[in-house]
C-alpha cells in the first residue's frame, strides 16, 4: 500500500518536474513564462500526432513497429512542437519587448486551443466511439520497465519500476542544477536573469541567452506533457485531461525556490499531495475536493515565508518579469 502510494506519487509528479525544470531554466533568464501550461499541451499533442502517424504507417502489424523509432519520433515531435512555442514566446518578449504576463497567457490560450483542436480532430479521424485516442502500442514502448525490477521487492518497486522518461526527468533536473551552479554558462544565465544590464556590460549576449534558455525550458516542459500521455495515461489522449498541471508546475518552481534539485523532491511531494486523498480512509468526496487545494496552499506558504525571511539565495531572479532594453537604464 505504502509502496504503491509512493510509486503513484512519483508517476503524478514527473510531468510537474518536467514543467518546473523547464520553467526554472526560463525564469533564470528573467522571463516569467506563464505559457508553460499551453506549451505542455502542445508538447503532448505533438508527440501524440507523431506517434499516431507512425502507428498508422505501421498498419495493424505490431511486430513491424521498431521500438527505437516508436520512442524517438514522438520524443522529437514533442521537443520540436514545444520549442516552436518557446520561440514564439521569446520572439514576442525578447525581440518585440512585449509584456511577459500577457504574452504568456496568450500562449497558454493558444497552446491549450491547439492541443484540444488537434486532439479533437484526430479523435474524429479514428472514427471510434470513445472521445479519446489510444496509442497503447507506443505507450507500451514508453513504459517498458527494467526486467529485474520486480525481483527486488519494495526497493525495485520504488526506485526501478518506472518508465524511462521518469529517469530522464530526474537526470534533466540534476544536469540543470549542475549547469546552473557549476558552469560558466550557468553563471552567465543567472547574471542575465539577475541584472541584464550588468551582464550586457560584461559582454554576455543577453538576447541569445534569453532565447536559448526559453526554448530549452519549453522543450523540457513539453516532454512533461508527453510523459503524461504516454506513461501516466497509458497512451490515451482525451481533451482537457491534462488539466491544470501546468499551473501546478509553475507553483512548484516557487516551492523549490528556483532550484531544480529541490524540484525533484518537490514534484514527488506534490504528486503525493495530489494523491493523498485517495489513500486516506473514510474521506468523503467533499473533503477530497478540499485536499486538492493542498499543493497551492503549501506553495503560498512557501512564497510568503521566503519573502519574509529575505534570504538572498531564496529569492526569485531579480529582474524576473522585466523587459530589458539596452538603451534604457
Amino acid at each position: 500500500m505504502i509502496v504503491q502510494f509512493i510509486c503513484r506519487a512519483i508517476l503524478l509528479g514527473v510531468p510537474l518536474l518536467y514543467g518546473s525544470t523547464g520553467e526554472i531554466i526560463t525564469e533564470k533568464s528573467g522571463h516569467l513564462n506563464l505559457g508553460i501550461p499551453g506549451i505542455m499541451y502542445v508538447g503532448a499533442i505533438s508527440g501524440v500526432i507523431g506517434s499516431f502517424l507512425y502507428e498508422m504507417s505501421c498498419g495493424n502489424d505490431l511486430s513491424r513497429m521498431n521500438a527505437f523509432l516508436a520512442i524517438i519520433i514522438p520524443l522529437l515531435c514533442a521537443i520540436a512542437g514545444s520549442m516552436l512555442m518557446g520561440l514564439i514566446y521569446s520572439f514576442l518578449t525578447v525581440t518585440l519587448k512585449a509584456n511577459q504576463n500577457v504574452t504568456g497567457l496568450a500562449i497558454t490560450t493558444f497552446g491549450i486551443g491547439m492541443g484540444n483542436f488537434f486532439g479533437g480532430s484526430l479523435i474524429k479521424l479514428t472514427e471510434s466511439d470513445m472521445p479519446s485516442i489510444a496509442l497503447t502500442r507506443t505507450s507500451g514502448f514508453f513504459s517498458a520497465k527494467l526486467p529485474f525490477a520486480e525481483k527486488l521487492g519494495w526497493f525495485g518497486e520504488i526506485f526501478l519500476s518506472h518508465d524511462f522518461l521518469t529517469y530522464v526527468a530526474v537526470a534533466v533536473a540534476i544536469i540543470t542544477s549542475v549547469v546552473l551552479n557549476r558552469t560558466r554558462v550557468g553563471l552567465n544565465l543567472r547574471a542575465v536573469g539577475e541584472n541584464p544590464a550588468t551582464a550586457d556590460a560584461a559582454g554576455i549576449n543577453v538576447t541569445r541567452y534569453k532565447y536559448v534558455a526559453t526554448m530549452i525550458g519549453s522543450a523540457v516542459a513539453g516532454l512533461g506533457g508527453l510523459q503524461y500521455v504516454m506513461a501516466y495515461a497509458n497512451g490515451v489522449w482525451s481533451n482537457n485531461a491534462f488539466g491544470d498541471r501546468g499551473w501546478l508546475a509553475i507553483a512548484l518552481v516557487i516551492f523549490a525556490l528556483w532550484k531544480p534539485s529541490l524540484a525533484i523532491l518537490g514534484s514527488f511531494l506534490f504528486g503525493a499531495l495530489c494523491n493523498a486523498n485517495n489513500y486516506i480512509q473514510g474521506l468523503g468526496t467533499e473533503t477530497q475536493e478540499l485536499f486538492k487545494m493542498l499543493p497551492y496552499v503549501v506553495t503560498i506558504v512557501v512564497l510568503v515565508f521566503t519573502s519574509m525571511r529575505k534570504k538572498r539565495e531564496h529569492q526569485p531572479p531579480e529582474s524576473l518579469g522585466l523587459t530589458y532594453f539596452r538603451e534604457e537604464r
Partner: protein, 371 residues
C-alpha cells in the same frame, strides 16, 4: 565560453532599435487596427482552408453567430453578446487599477469565483428568510466583501513583505476553485450541480434578463474612467505604478495605496461574480467564470488601461470568440478553434505594440555610438 576574452571585429549592425517619442494616437491605432485585421484575415484564411468555404461565407457565418437574425427582429443573440461583453469588461475594469499600479493581479478568476460564492451562500441560506429588498442588499455587500478579501490577502503580503503578487494571485485562483468544488458538492447533494435558486435574483428590466447586468457594467466603466483620470486616488495609483520611490518621496503611503487599490480590484471582481451568479446563472459551478479572468488580464493590457478602449477590445474579442465558435460549429471543426483564433489575434496585437513604442533605425553613413 571563451568569447569574453576574444576580441571580435564588430561590423556596425545593419539597424538598431530605439525608443520612439509618443506616437500620434491615430497612427498608433492605425497600427493596432492593421495588426488585428491582419490576424483576423490570416485566421479566416486558415479556416477557409479547413472548411472549404470562401472568405465571405466565413465572415458571414461569424456575423450570424454573433448577431443572429437581427434584421428579422430577433435580438436574442445580440443580448447574449452584450452580456458576455459586460462580464469580461467588468473583470478587465477590475484589474485595471491594480495593473496601473504595476501590481500584476492574475487572480481575477478566483476573486470573481469567491464573490460569486458569497452571493450564492446568501441566496441559499438567507434567501427564503429575508424580504427581497434586504436580501439583495445583503447579497451585494457579501459578494463585494468576499471578492475584496480575496484580493486583499496577496496585497497585504505584497505591501509588507514584497511577496511576488503574480504567483500569489495565481495560486489563489485554484484555492478558490477547490472551495467552490467543495461547496457545490455539499449543497448539490452529491450530484455536483446546484439547482438554480429562485431567491435573490436580479430584477428583470422589462422582460430582458441581461439588461441590468449590462447597465451596471456601463456605469462602472464611466466611474472607473473618472476614478483613474480625475480622482486623487487615481493619481496616487499612477504615481506608485511609475515609481515607488517617487511616490514615497512626495509623501504617498505606498503600502496604503497598494492595499486600498487591491481591495477595489478584488471588490470589482466580486461584482463580476455577483453578476454571474445572482444576475445570470442563479447557481455556481467551478467553471462559472470559465477562464475569463485570464482573458480579462489581456483585455486590460490591450485596452491601455483606458476603460473606453477596453469596451472596444472586449467587444472585438467576444465577437471573435462567438464568431469562431460558430464557424467551428457549422463546419464541424473542433470547438477549440475559437481559442486558437483568439490566441493568434492577441499575440499579434501584443506584438504590434513594439512598432508603436520603438522604431528601427537603419545604419547611417555617419559613424554613431553603437559599437
Amino acid at each position: 565560453m571563451a568569447d569574453k576574452t576574444m576580441v571580435k571585429h564588430h561590423h556596425e549592425p545593419l539597424f538598431h532599435v530605439a525608443k520612439r517619442d509618443d506616437m500620434i494616437w491615430w497612427k498608433a491605432w492605425l497600427i493596432r487596427c492593421a495588426a488585428i485585421l491582419l490576424s483576423v484575415f490570416v485566421m479566416s484564411l486558415v479556416s477557409m482552408a479547413l472548411t472549404e468555404k470562401t472568405l465571405f461565407e466565413t465572415l458571414e457565418i461569424m456575423y450570424r453567430g454573433v448577431f443572429g437574425r437581427i434584421e428579422e427582429g430577433s435580438t436574442v443573440m445580440l443580448w447574449k453578446y452584450l452580456q458576455q461583453i459586460a462580464i469580461l469588461l467588468c473583470l478587465a475594469l477590475a484589474l485595471t487599477p491594480a495593473f496601473k499600479m504595476k501590481f500584476w493581479n492574475c487572480g481575477a478568476e478566483g476573486q470573481a469565483l469567491i464573490g460569486g460564492l458569497g452571493a450564492m451562500v446568501v441566496m441559499i441560506e438567507l434567501g427564503p428568510k429575508l424580504p427581497y429588498g434586504v436580501l439583495m442588499v445583503v447579497i451585494v455587500v457579501v459578494s463585494i466583501l468576499a471578492g475584496a478579501i480575496w484580493g486583499l490577502i496577496p496585497a497585504v503580503f505584497k505591501a509588507f513583505f514584497n511577496t511576488n503578487e503574480t504567483l500569489f494571485t495565481l495560486m489563489m485562483n485554484y484555492i478558490a476553485t477547490q472551495i467552490i468544488a467543495y461547496y457545490v458538492y455539499i449543497k448539490g447533494g452529491g450530484s455536483n450541480v446546484i439547482q438554480p435558486v429562485e431567491f435573490g435574483n436580479f430584477p428583470k428590466i422589462g422582460d430582458n434578463k441581461y439588461l441590468i447586468n449590462i447597465l451596471i457594467v456601463a456605469i462602472l466603466t464611466v466611474v472607473m474612467y473618472l476614478y483613474l483620470r480625475y480622482s486623487k486616488q487615481g493619481y496616487e495609483i499612477s504615481v506608485v505604478g511609475e515609481s515607488q520611490n517617487t511616490a514615497r518621496y512626495i509623501g504617498i503611503n505606498v503600502k496604503k495605496v497598494i492595499i486600498r487599490t487591491m481591495c477595489i480590484s478584488g471588490a470589482l471582481c466580486g461584482v463580476a461574480g455577483l453578476l454571474l451568479v445572482s444576475g445570470t446563472d442563479h447557481t455556481i459551478r467551478t467553471d462559472t467564470v470559465g477562464g475569463q479572468g485570464f482573458t480579462a488580464i489581456m483585455m486590460s493590457w490591450l485596452g491601455q488601461f483606458n476603460p473606453f478602449i477596453m469596451v472596444i477590445m472586449t467587444a472585438l474579442i467576444i465577437f471573435l470568440k462567438l464568431g469562431a465558435g460558430k464557424v467551428a460549429d457549422t463546419c464541424r471543426l473542433n470547438a477549440s478553434f475559437a481559442d486558437i483564433f483568439i490566441g493568434v489575434v492577441i499575440l499579434c496585437v501584443v506584438g504590434c505594440e513594439f512598432f508603436i513604442r520603438y522604431t528601427i533605425k537603419f545604419r547611417h553613413r555617419k559613424k554613431e555610438g553603437n559599437v
